[in-house]
């Protein structure tokens, strides 16, 4: 029913319009529309789209039913244009009109929706733009604020006195405490004022000091002039006093000349010169110091300002060298020249003469290698008596070995200055040891005497100059003297050992029995290689006790058919470090200290219990006493050997030594220890 009513209304509208609105507008009949006062757009507002949609669906449905009814009627044979069909067609038309209307409304609604969206969008855009503007403004303001905050005033770079100090020192009119106490700005201003005030005062003071300085300088100039004017007068007086000095034999002049020459010594040698002189005067009258070498050359050397350490431009001599270089441009020759240059000695050298009580003198020549900054020493011994007799003693007084290992493991073959390593690499020097023969040995103690200190570990501090030299002087001189005496004593002993005589002094007589039958048959020096090749010395080498710097000897002790070989290692520090014996006995087969426990016991009797063999201090008789004990031990060994043999006939070695027991302990050792007053042998 309601749907019917709706249909009627709609059909009315369609009729009243009488065509599509577009057509009417197109014809320009706007007036007519105004008159009609019908506005579809107004109608649109009052309608509900939901309802429209419902209407549309209903119209479609009813259209479909009408169509099917028409079809049915037609199929039943109704005629075209029959009332029923016509009615149906009318109804269908009405529905079509309705659909059209709905369509139009839908279009209008769409258009209006679009317009609305567009309007809203425009509004949003405007608002967005406003927002952007505001944001930008905020950012700009923030920037401005931070700029303000970061503003640096110049006064911040000025170091001001602390606040408390300021209140203490500044006068009231500047500090104005009532104002500044609570206002930091005023406080800063006041402090700046004070700073300015102070600076002004200091500038004034500076000016004053400057003028004072000028004044003093002027007065110094005047005094200097006065002093220089004195010089010729003094010279004249000196000249005049010479004959008086000569007459009174006072060597002022000579000493002065020496000090004059000493001025041209390089610093290291100068330190040594001063310290040795001082030590000689204070403690050791037998020490004398002299300077040798070309003074003029040294003067020439010390004249040019030593601003360049470069090898090429140091002195006249070097220029000459360069000339020769140009003459021989071969690279080998150049390298040779460079090497020579590198190893150049200072033209002046120092000679220390150390006199001993027996009249022998140790001459020590100290050299300074300018480019390597190290000192070397060459030694020579001159004795009061002739010392040519001993062949095996050849090495003892050689410059090479005489001073070796004065302090432990100081062999003086490698340069002590670590910097030299790089210098050598440049000119292709493999090791300094190749030049030691020519230049002398750079022992550590020599560097110390010259006040040169090359720290080995980084932990050691660098000590400087003459205090270092002084701390080493006394000890070194004592060691040098001890070394010389030990070597001279050995020299004498070797001479008699070569004649198969073992010199035993009366002080040491009690260490040995009166009758020793074993005799020293041979005493020779051997090389380290020969020593190493011996089958019974391997353990010594393995223990690291046979070093390159040591001296090696071979001694043979014989008794009857028994022949005892003893190979010796002697440290250059003898008698501080005792010689080490290794034994090999050939008697009824070959036995060595390695295979025979008794020979091993003999070795330890000689090597380990050496303290009782030292004799009077400083123990120069140690070696001969050790050899004597070796003979005694061999006697004991032979006499106590094989006593249980059931071999017929007399023994080769009858028992002469008194022994409490011939064997003892699990390894059946023989009694090698001699007990002095009773004269018997016992076990350790």
């Amino acid at each position: 029913m309601s749907s019917d009513a709706l249909k009627k209304r709609k059909s009315k509208v369609v009729r009243s319009e009488g065509g599509t609105p577009e057509m009417k507008r197109g014809r320009g009949e706007a007036e007519q529309q105004d008159v009609r006062v019908y506005n579809e757009e107004v109608e649109l507002d009052s309608r509900d789209p939901e309802q429209d949609f419902q209407q549309y669906k209903e119209s479609c449905e009813s259209l479909a039913t009408i169509m099917s009814e028409i079809q049915e009627l037609k199929a039943n044979g109704a005629k075209e244009g029959s009332a029923e069909v016509e009615q149906r067609r009318m109804q269908g038309c009405i529905h079509f009109m309705n659909l059209k209307k709905l369509n139009r409304l839908a279009h209008m609604r769409l258009k209006r929706g679009r317009d609305q969206t567009h309007d809203a969008k425009q509004k949003v855009d405007v608002l967005h733009l406003q927002l952007q503007n505001l944001l930008y403004e905020v950012m700009h303001l923030q920037k401005e604020i931070s700029k303000c905050l970061e503003f640096k005033s110049k006064h911040e770079e000025i170091d001001l006195v602390s606040e408390s100090e300021f209140y203490q020192e500044a006068p009231q009119e500047i500090s104005r405490p009532h104002l500044t106490k609570n206002d930091p700005h005023q406080l800063t201003l006041a402090r700046l004022d004070w700073e300015l005030e102070q600076r002004k005062r200091l500038a004034e003071k500076y000016k004053e000091s400057q003028s004072m300085k000028e004044k003093i300088q002027n007065s110094i100039e005047v005094k200097k002039e006065h002093l220089t004017s004195l010089q010729p007068g003094l010279n004249a007086i000196m000249q005049a006093s010479v004959p008086v000095q000569e007459y009174l034999s006072m060597p002022f002049e000579q000493a002065q000349i020496q000090t004059e020459v000493a001025r041209h010594l390089p610093p290291a040698l100068y330190v040594l010169f001063v310290q040795a002189n001082a030590y000689g005067q204070a403690c050791d009258k037998n020490l004398s110091v002299s300077i040798s070498g070309d003074v003029d050359e040294a003067k020439a050397l010390s004249k040019p300002p030593e601003d360049s350490q470069d090898d090429e431009s140091d002195s006249d001599a070097e220029e000459e060298q360069e000339k020769t270089k140009r003459r021989r441009p071969t690279t080998g020759g150049q390298l040779d020249d460079k090497r020579k240059e590198m190893l150049k000695r200072h033209p002046l050298s120092l000679c220390l003469d150390l006199k001993c009580k027996d009249g022998s003198i140790l001459h020590l020549h100290f050299y300074y290698l300018m480019n390597l900054n190290i000192m070397t020493v060459k030694a020579k011994v001159s004795t009061s008596t002739d010392l040519t007799s001993a062949i095996s003693a050849g090495d003892l007084l050689k410059s090479d070995t005489l001073l070796s290992c004065l302090y432990s493991s100081d062999q003086g073959r490698e340069t002590p200055n670590p910097a030299n390593r790089y210098q050598f690499d440049k000119v292709g020097i493999v090791t300094f040891a190749d030049y030691v023969e020519e230049l002398g040995h750079p022992y550590m103690w020599v560097q110390s005497l010259g006040g040169l200190h090359f720290p080995k570990d980084s932990s050691e501090g660098v000590s400087v100059g003459s205090s270092l030299s002084a701390s080493h002087m006394e000890n070194t001189m004592k060691l040098l003297r001890g070394r010389l005496q030990a070597r001279l004593a050995l020299h004498k002993q070797f001479a008699s050992l070569e004649h198969s005589i073992i010199p035993v002094s009366s002080e040491c007589q009690h260490l040995f029995p009166a009758k020793i039958i074993s005799r020293l048959a041979r005493w020779t020096t051997i090389t380290q290689e020969e020593y190493m090749e011996l089958p019974y010395t391997r353990h010594v080498a393995d223990a690291g006790l046979a070093k390159e710097s040591d001296l090696y000897f071979m001694s043979v002790v014989e008794r009857g058919t028994a022949r005892l070989q003893a190979a010796l290692v002697m440290s250059p520090r003898y008698p501080e470090i005792s010689p080490l014996f290794s034994l090999s006995l050939s008697w009824k087969g070959e036995r060595t200290g390695r295979t025979d426990d008794n020979l091993r016991a003999m070795e330890s009797e000689i090597n380990v219990f050496k303290n009782e063999l030292q004799g009077p201090r400083p123990g120069h008789q140690l070696l001969t006493n050790q050899i004597s004990r070796l003979c005694v031990c061999l006697d004991v060994y032979l006499e106590t050997e094989g006593q249980d043999d059931s071999v017929e006939g007399p023994r080769e070695f009858p028992r002469e030594k008194m022994c409490l027991r011939t064997v003892r302990g699990p390894n059946r050792l023989k009694p090698f220890k001699y007990n002095h007053p009773q004269g018997f042998f016992s076990h350790r």
Binding site: R594, G665, P666
Partner: protein, 323 residues
């Protein structure tokens, strides 16, 4: 101790601690060194862990004999026996609990003590040495209760047959004497060098090693090392080893022997020498098996060197402890 002293040092005696974790060794300078075996055997052992944890001078003369009891270490030097507590030693506290000296007749030279064995049956210490006699020290009362006299030269070695209560001793005079420990009487005396199969006149007649195991005895020295059947008192096997032997030991079905020469000999009971394992010292004085602790099981040998060779496996030297 300087390098020269080390070079001439000999190790004469060894003893494992009752816990088996320490080894005490005595040398020719009268020093005893205590080594920590657990440190030396640990996988991160360095050269330092093969050095003694403690070295102290125990006696004036060489330490020829060391012996461990339940908690004490006995050491024998020149004519005196000292007793140290193992628990003190591991705490590095060196003070002897007591020192005793047998009553010696001679005065000129103090006789050395070459061998000690512990008789657990009556808690006594049997001591043999340079005065040709065997002294028995009663550990309960701390007095020397018996002197066994009979040897005509000094006593080298001792052994104990607990089941028979017999003490065996071998001496420089070449005799092996068997003593009844209860009565102190000499039961038997066998002079080994008189048996032609054992005698080696080129060496001598002394007996320097002696070991027993139930009815079997092993002895050697000047004469060849030989295995004896004690009930019949006849030699059953002779071992052809060169040099004189200084210590032997039964080990499982083998015999281990050391002496002159730088090797440990492995022998079979039948008389065959199975192997000679080289070691560092040129001649050996002492051999010791550690059976006190399973994880530190090892054989150690010492001799004319400051090294003590350690064999964790009997067939090769593992490393050396050194003074």
């Amino acid at each position: 101790m300087g390098p020269v002293e080390l070079l001439h040092m000999s190790v004469f005696s060894q003893s494992f601690s009752p816990c088996g974790r320490f080894l005490a060794a005595g040398n020719s300078y009268g020093e005893i060194a205590v080594f920590s075996l657990s440190a030396a055997l640990s996988p991160d052992a360095t050269a330092l862990s093969q050095k003694p944890v403690l070295t102290f001078t125990a006696h004036e003369g060489p330490v020829f004999s060391l012996l461990s009891t339940d908690c004490h270490l006995m050491s024998a030097g020149n004519g005196e026996i000292s007793c140290w507590s193992w628990s003190d030693l591991t705490k590095k506290n060196v003070k002897p609990l007591w020192t005793k000296r047998p009553n010696y007749k001679s005065s000129l030279e103090i006789p050395e003590i070459n061998a000690m064995v512990l008789n657990t049956r009556d808690n006594s210490l049997v001591v043999g040495g340079g005065d040709n006699n065997i002294h028995i020290l009663d550990l309960e009362h701390g007095i020397f209760k018996t002197v066994l006299q009979g040897h005509s030269d000094y006593v080298h070695c001792l052994s104990l047959r607990e089941r028979e209560a017999e003490i065996l001793s071998g001496g420089e005079d070449g005799a092996v004497r068997m003593w009844d420990s209860r009565t102190g009487q000499s039961v038997h005396c066998v002079e080994i060098y008189k048996y032609e199969s054992c005698a080696r006149p080129q060496y001598g007649k002394w007996i320097s090693c002696l070991t027993t195991d139930s009815d079997w005895m092993l002895c050697g020295g000047g004469p060849s090392l030989s295995l004896w059947h004690l009930r019949s008192l006849s030699p059953t096997s002779i071992f052809t080893l060169t040099g004189c032997q200084r210590q032997t030991s039964f080990y499982q079905d083998m015999i281990l022997a050391v002496g002159e020469g730088p090797s440990v000999a492995h022998c079979l009971l039948g008389g065959e020498v199975k192997a000679q394992i080289p070691c560092t010292p040129q001649s050996l004085n002492t051999l010791q098996l550690n059976t006190n602790s399973a994880e530190h099981r090892m054989l150690t040998v010492g001799g004319s060197s400051n090294h003590i060779d350690v064999f964790t496996n009997l067939s090769y030297r593992a490393f050396s402890l050194s003074f």
